[in-house]
Amino acid sequence: MSEIGKGRKGIEVSIAMADAVAQADVDVIAAYPITPQTHIVEHLADIVANGELDAEFVPVESEHSAMSVCCGSAAVGARTFTSTSSQGLALMSEIFIIAAAMRLPMVMALANRSLSSPLSIWNDHTDVMMVRDAGWIHFFVENGQEAYDGIFNAFRMSEDPGVMLPVAVNLDGFIMTHMVEPVEYVDGELIKKYLPEFKMKNALHPDNPVSMGCFAMPEIYTEAQMSREVGIKDAYPTIVKAWDEWGALTGRHYKPIETYRTDDADYCIITMGSFGETAMEVADMLREEGEKVGVVKIRLWRPFPMEEFRKSVLGKKYLIVLDRAISFGSQGGPVAMELRSALYGQKDAPVVVNYVAGLAGRDVSRKDFRNIILEGKKKAVSGHTDGFTLYGLRG
């Protein structure tokens, strides 16, 4: 166990995340450096090289290999961590999907960044949306404390014998990875209480041979897919419990869907990731001007918290959904598509207006939020709700 002490620190979010991984007493880290994830794995490499953490750090030659190593180490029952971003995720996507299908517990810090081309190193959600349907558990964090806490929460969820799924902790690249923020560290005692030893059922071992990732005939593939679908849906109560218990131990409470000033709101802005903090500030400003607007933040993306989402927007007239990616040739952003389908056919369902903004790190200021909320409201009132609007687009 690493000697990283408890207490409040002003620290770069990437370093805090790496510290959390070390505190979680991880056994194997396999990663390839890619912007903006680099500081996370560099710091872990330091911790291991300095002898502060008894773990294998495997400096692989590509992300495809990183995920392959992670699958191998999880399969033998080792606590496993990796981190990537954008093109790295694209390169590892083949094995990334297999990790979920083979139900191999591991945790990834996914520093969200746009995909090429044009080549960009900055933030949006195009990378995570590419693997939306891979079967991983995905949640989003929106500040340094959540990123640090999220590592412990993710290991707890992932390794639960009833879950056995890889978990991605999504954090906006640069906007979060490179920020220096105050982070409250926990101590080893608390971690021990919260995070039991990882015991992999059917772990690879010569005494008890098993085969993983076998060939399946058409006669059995359908059943295997259903088993995955039920597996991730059934993970939901464990995910909620992992956050609840963390809340009880630390006083920091997390929910699949977070709401801010929604009780008496007529309408809401919906965000996922670091957009949430600005949205709350702007909601406060608009409240003073008499706008009855609230904020709904999606923390858990997969499995999607359908019922909680529906409850959170019950009775609202319209929702302005802010996406950070486009699903080309469709209705617009993946989040809005998800929410529209969650609401379809529901009684008195709110109208959804979709904006896509902040692509490749383009700044979305408080003024922009204000424009989006007020303009979106106008669109909703006038019935212009089809498709999506690319905010700030020239031409």
Binding site: R103, M212, A216, A224
Partner: protein
């Protein structure tokens, strides 16, 4: 496998479809994919084993008399054995539709 593959329910599959029973791939019968089957004219066979060597599915087995013939539970009907047999004693015959 306790049950034939087409009777196993999703609930009976292990997490991640892990296979805990070793060597059960022999129960994966791939013979139903075939549209043609190899038929050996025994009287012309020189027992050279070339068909056995070339079969990509290891579906050729040797009979007690030393001839070679296809195990139709696994033979996929690719026709490689018929093509490679040096004396041309294997012919491919259409399966009943």
């Amino acid at each position: 496998m306790a049950k034939p593959i087409d009777e196993i329910t999703w609930q009976e599959l292990g997490i991640g479809a892990v296979v805990t029973e070793i060597g059960n791939s022999v129960q994966y019968k791939t013979g139903s994919w075939r549209s043609e089957r190899p038929v050996v004219k025994k009287e012309h066979c020189i027992k050279c084993g070339v068909c056995w060597l070339f079969c990509p599915d290891m579906s050729i087995v040797q009979t007690p008399e030393g001839h070679f013939t296809a195990n139709l539970e696994f033979c996929k009907g690719c026709g490689i054995c018929a093509k490679e047999c040096p004396v041309g004693c294997i012919t491919m015959q259409g399966e009943e539709a």
